[in-house]
């Protein structure tokens, strides 16, 4: 049986990647408010997932305010699909 992705076992990371599948790109504040986490917690998870190539960040400017835009990479999308498949197999095994 395939293993869970160690980078996605934290619930916030699973929520983060799953939420990003709904959009092409999202601003940092939008994701923070959707996940109900603090700036520091989100930044920590973003850095970890960016390091393994699951998402990418880019800087922008909106009316003089610096913004950070986050998007899922193809690798991140594949990793999420594989992780979710393992979770579903785990659930179906006991049903």
């Amino acid at each position: 049986m395939a293993e869970l992705d160690a980078n996605l076992v934290a619930p916030t990371r699973l929520k983060l990647l799953t939420t990003l599948t709904a959009v092409s790109e999202a601003e940092f504040c939008t994701i923070r408010d959707t996940l109900h986490v603090s700036d520091s917690v989100l930044s920590k998870h973003l850095a970890a997932l960016e390091n393994v190539g699951y998402l990418q960040r880019r800087k922008g400017v909106d009316r003089g305010r610096r913004t950070t835009w986050i998007s899922l990479t193809l690798g991140g999308r594949k990793a999420l699909s594989a992780h979710v498949a393992v979770l579903r197999a785990l659930i179906s095994a006991v049903e």
Binding site: P11, L17, T19, I91
Partner: protein, 194 residues
């Protein structure tokens, strides 16, 4: 400093081998989060109405342009549509803090099946009516085409909210290239015949 780092690392400590109940809860939570974002996304005021009006104007100016040889009218209609599309997409992005490729391609650029089919039929009918000098039919075809475009956009938004992961992504670059080439070829053919 080490205390803060320790607190952060412990905030999400989860077992590497969750139970079925934990796995189910994690999945449900993640899907609820995605659904919450999709349902929170709002279109700016007059979004669909302005897109429908811009398409109606573009159909009418194209029909008049082809039938009378006034290519400036055709260009003006395309420019007006491009301006409305750019402004509305920028407003959507600023309002929601997201970029939604599916909305840009299927709703605004009309690559969705309903939008592209209704547009093609309305444009064809309006051009035919313009060549026959049936100007009231040109106006009717343009209005119907614009209304269908706006309604198909609203329909797409409902489908997106129901299944955001399926509908949120834009068409592939290859498909957009095919559509773009087909549109340019069709335009060139009409210009040659005009």
């Amino acid at each position: 400093m080490w205390k803060v780092g320790s607190m952060l690392s412990n905030m999400e400590s989860t077992p590497e081998h969750p139970t079925a109940a934990e796995a189910s809860a994690a999945l449900s939570d993640a899907e609820a989060s995605r659904a919450a974002l999709a349902h929170r996304l709002a279109t700016p005021s007059w979004f669909f109405t302005s897109m429908g009006a811009a398409i109606a104007a573009q159909i009418a100016t194209s029909a008049v342009g082809f039938a009378t040889g006034a290519l400036w009218a055709l260009a003006a209609g395309l420019a007006a549509f491009a301006a409305v599309a750019a402004v509305q997409l920028a407003r959507f992005r600023r309002l929601n803090g997201v970029w939604l490729g599916g909305l840009a391609s299927r709703v605004v650029l009309g690559t969705g099946t309903a939008a592209s089919a209704s547009y093609a039929i309305a444009l064809g009918a309006a051009i035919w009516a313009a060549y026959e000098a049936q100007w009231w039919l040109v106006a009717l075809g343009s209005i119907v085409g614009g209304a269908a475009y706006a309604l198909s956009g609203r329909r797409w938004m409902r489908a997106y909210r129901a299944r955001p992961a399926v509908h949120g992504r834009a068409e592939s670059a290859a498909w957009l290239a095919v559509v773009g080439v087909a549109a340019i070829a069709g335009l060139a053919l009409l210009l040659i015949k005009a």
